[in-house]
């Protein structure tokens, strides 16, 4: 049976909503997991307060979670399984959309959001094979749910591509930008946790005598280890972003007759690149490592989201894909 594009696209929409529901369930499971960790943390003695934050130094090896490896986080596992399931439906939805359109499924905002969040989930799930970062699960599934859910607001029917979009550079430039965003999202999540963790560590040192309060933060790696992890994701994201910038310039040179013209979207891509270059520098600057550099990573990602949402919708520019008129 040959499915016509319209039917395929409506299947795709059904799959998207199934995926969103599964992500919501995953988010709940992960949230329960965090609550359980928080409870469990009462039992775990806070060893770190004996150390003091003063001894922190460049030691990327110190990234072992303190107790996170313990297998009792059942809800975390349920969350991950649900995320996998959601991912499968999400992947199906994206593939169907691409098949229905007869081109890559990232040519308008609805599709960028669909593919971008798919890559976020993929990167998160892939990273789990390498390191147990399930404590990021509620953040990642939450972010994906919000982005994918609100992207349905921008749902558009499949329309033929505008001429300027008929280019291999659409395939490369937009895909790599989404991939960069996925890595930067993980770095962002880790930087936020790093800030929380650093604050808790500071308070633990100051109030060494006070009874330990419950906190899921006690079950995740130290602020320093989180910083090291965030940095690693950020530099991968940064490399992809650099590539996005260059590929975009090549495409602009073909489509618009110049490789750089300070179009709004170009400006924001540049701003984000410079912010992350600043973040990488901050990590190597005395007095900026730690909390300050984490803020830069956060500002950088806020700019990424701003670029994708506000700039796309409200700023004038060539990236409106108006093409020839």
């Amino acid at each position: 049976m040959q499915l016509d594009p319209v039917t395929m696209d409506s299947f795709s929409v059904v799959l998207v909503w199934t995926a969103i529901s599964l992500y919501v369930l995953a988010f709940i499971a992960y949230a329960v997991d965090l609550a359980n960790r928080s409870q469990a943390s009462l039992a775990a003695k806070d060893a770190r307060q004996l150390v003091g934050v003063g001894a922190r130094a460049a030691s990327p090896a110190a990234s072992e979670p303190v107790v996170a490896a313990a297998p009792r986080y059942v809800w975390g596992r349920i969350g991950t399984s649900l995320t996998w399931l959601g991912f499968v439906f999400h992947l199906g939805a994206t593939l169907l959309r691409g098949l229905a359109a007869g081109r890559v499924p990232w040519s308008n905002m609805y599709e960028f959001a669909m593919t971008g969040t798919l890559l976020m989930t993929a990167v998160y799930l892939g990273v789990l094979f390498w390191k147990d970062l399930r404590f990021l699960g509620s953040f990642m599934t939450g972010l994906v749910t919000v982005l994918l859910g609100s992207s349905s607001l921008f749902y558009v029917q499949i329309t033929p591509l505008m001429d300027p979009l008929k280019s291999v550079w659409l395939v490369i430039h937009v895909f790599v930008a989404s991939l960069a965003t996925a890595f930067l999202a993980l770095a962002f999540a880790l930087s936020v946790l790093q800030l929380l963790q650093a604050r808790r560590e500071r308070m633990a040192v100051e109030a060494a005598e006070a009874p330990a309060r419950r906190s899921m933060l006690r079950t995740i790696p130290s602020a320093e280890a989180l910083e090291g992890l965030a940095y690693r994701f950020a530099i991968i994201g940064f490399i992809f972003w650099t590539f996005t910038l260059i590929a975009g310039a090549i495409w602009a040179n073909d489509a618009w007759g110049r490789y750089w013209g300070f179009d709004t979207k170009e400006v924001w891509t540049f701003i984000i690149w410079v912010l992350y270059a600043g973040y990488i520098h901050a990590r190597a600057t005395r007095g900026w490592r730690g909390t300050r550099s984490a803020w830069l990573s956060i500002v950088g990602f806020v700019a990424v989201i701003f670029n994708f949402t506000i700039v796309n919708m409200f700023f004038e520019g060539l990236h409106a894909y108006s093409g020839l008129s």
């Binding site: 060893a47 770190r48 004996l50 150390v51 001894a55 922190r56 130094a57 460049a58 030691s59 990327p60 090896a61 110190a62 303190v66 029917q157 329309t159 033929p160 591509l161 505008m162 001429d163 300027p164 090291g228 940095y231 690693r232 940064f238 490399i239 650099t242 590539f243 260059i246 310039a249 073909d254 489509a255 618009w256 007759g257 110049r258 490789y259 750089w260 013209g261 300070f262 709004t264 400006v267 924001w268 540049f270 701003i271 410079v274 912010l275 600043g278 520098h281 901050a282 190597a284 600057t285 005395r286 007095g287 490592r289 700039v311 700023f315 004038e316 520019g317 093409g323 020839l324 008129s325």
Partner: protein, 573 residues
Amino acid sequence: MTAEKGAATARKDTVTDQRTAPQRDGSEPLRPSDHVDADEAIAQPALGFVGWLRWGWRQLTSMRTALVLLLLLAIAAVPGSIFPQRMANPNGVTQWERDNPDLFPVLDALQLFDVYQSAWFSAIYILLFVSLIGCILPRTKHHAKALRTKPPRTPARLARLDDFREDRIAAEDPEAEAAHAVDLAAAQLKAQGYRVERYDGRGAFSVSAERGYLRETGNLVFHASLVGVLLTVGIGGGFAYTGQRVVVEGTTFVNSLLDYSSMNRGRFVSEAALTPYSMRLDSFDVTYQEYGGPGSGQAGDFSANVTVTHPDGSTSEDAVRVNHPLQLEGDAIYLLGNGYAPTITVRNPEGEVVYRDSVPFLPQDTAMTSTGVVKVPDGLSEQLGLVGFFYPTQVPLDTGAFASAYGDLLNPMLTLNVYAGDLGIDDGTPRSVYALDVTGLEQLTGGDTGVDSIELAPGDTADLPNGMGTITFEDETPEGTDPALGYTESVKRFVSLQIHHDPSALGVLVFAVLATLGLLVALFVPRRRMWVKATPDGDGVRLEYAALARGEDPALADAVEQLRAKHRAALDD
């Protein structure tokens, strides 16, 4: 566990300080004094003028300054995305001025409409690049020397290092076995790309190995390439030119300054720099999405089919398409826009042709409602100016006005209002061909005149008011066209082309790619030191393996363990 970790980290700090002070060991990359890996800056009292200069220079080339300038650059770039920029969107600036007449002069004085050429934006990036050059020159010099430096002496107490493994093997001749073990380790490390140096003595044998010099090389290549990008853009811009030209089907465009409607030249581009080729627009293809379907009326698959005459007289056929500029004699030719150019003939009362031209009408919307101006300076009792609309698929609106419903020529219609008087083109004042200044002209049709506007379908002729003559909208359908096609070939099309010459583009690309490669190397090649030490010890040999990371190196502990495992396996063979 964390307590141990913390203690170990603290210990490592002391080791680092002893081992890596730059004055002890030339293989360290040189870093600005406020780099996390650098020695604590020694606060030197500034001595006189030279002292202050030196202090100032050190500040400018510090990590902190680079960081602050980078952040400032990011912030300074933001207003350019909020306010329309003259460079990218001059019409937007005019519009903004009209909407905010009071605020405009203030913001304009702050250069907010020319952000990227503004004094403050330039100041930031120039300072940043001065800092950058001041930073990489000494580091490059230092690195060149470091590349020729031997790996440092093996530390006395390897056990103090963070990543340390210890083994003991039994041996009949401990002395010989220890020497053999270190030989073997040196060979293995060398095979893994380490630079190795033997340090034997004081009753022990050891090899010191270092790898990852490429990391610093990559960092320097990256930063130097950024300078390369900036210089290429700055210098290359002087050799660039961009011109625009409207070409109607069947006409020819000659690449000379005279033939451009507008042209921006870099300061090093001479009049003679343009290659004398010419290009005839044979036809223009476009397809429209079917009426009522998805993306209804959307135009696409644009192709301007041209015949090029090269400077040597040879000709070739080619096409200019979106995303596929035509590369010609070092120029790139882009398709910027397209529209209709109705062919109009004006005759005097005797029936003699006084005017005949295909006049480009500029499209105003996606359904190609277009406006244009016809100026008839000679041959009639008065000069005539005609202002008109062209609708490729004309439909009446409820108000009685016309609109175009579709971009293709399904029901073409030309409407014109006639003005008579002095067009003001004889006194040499440059006038736009797309606008008619009606001051001083008498309106003869349309508006309040009580005379209907002229309405023409292709092939129609109408009388001009006051018996001045006739006007014809020519049907340009080629002979032998299938009548079923209706009007679809009846009006000529025009394209607007951009001819762009920018010798900097390739250079920028090369430097950008170099920067990316440098970045990959700088971020992912680990810089590390390894030591293997064998000490004869009674009836056996004590083997020590240790490593020290230089910068981020998450895989270091694994690397030590792998080295140990491989070494032991080879020893046991």
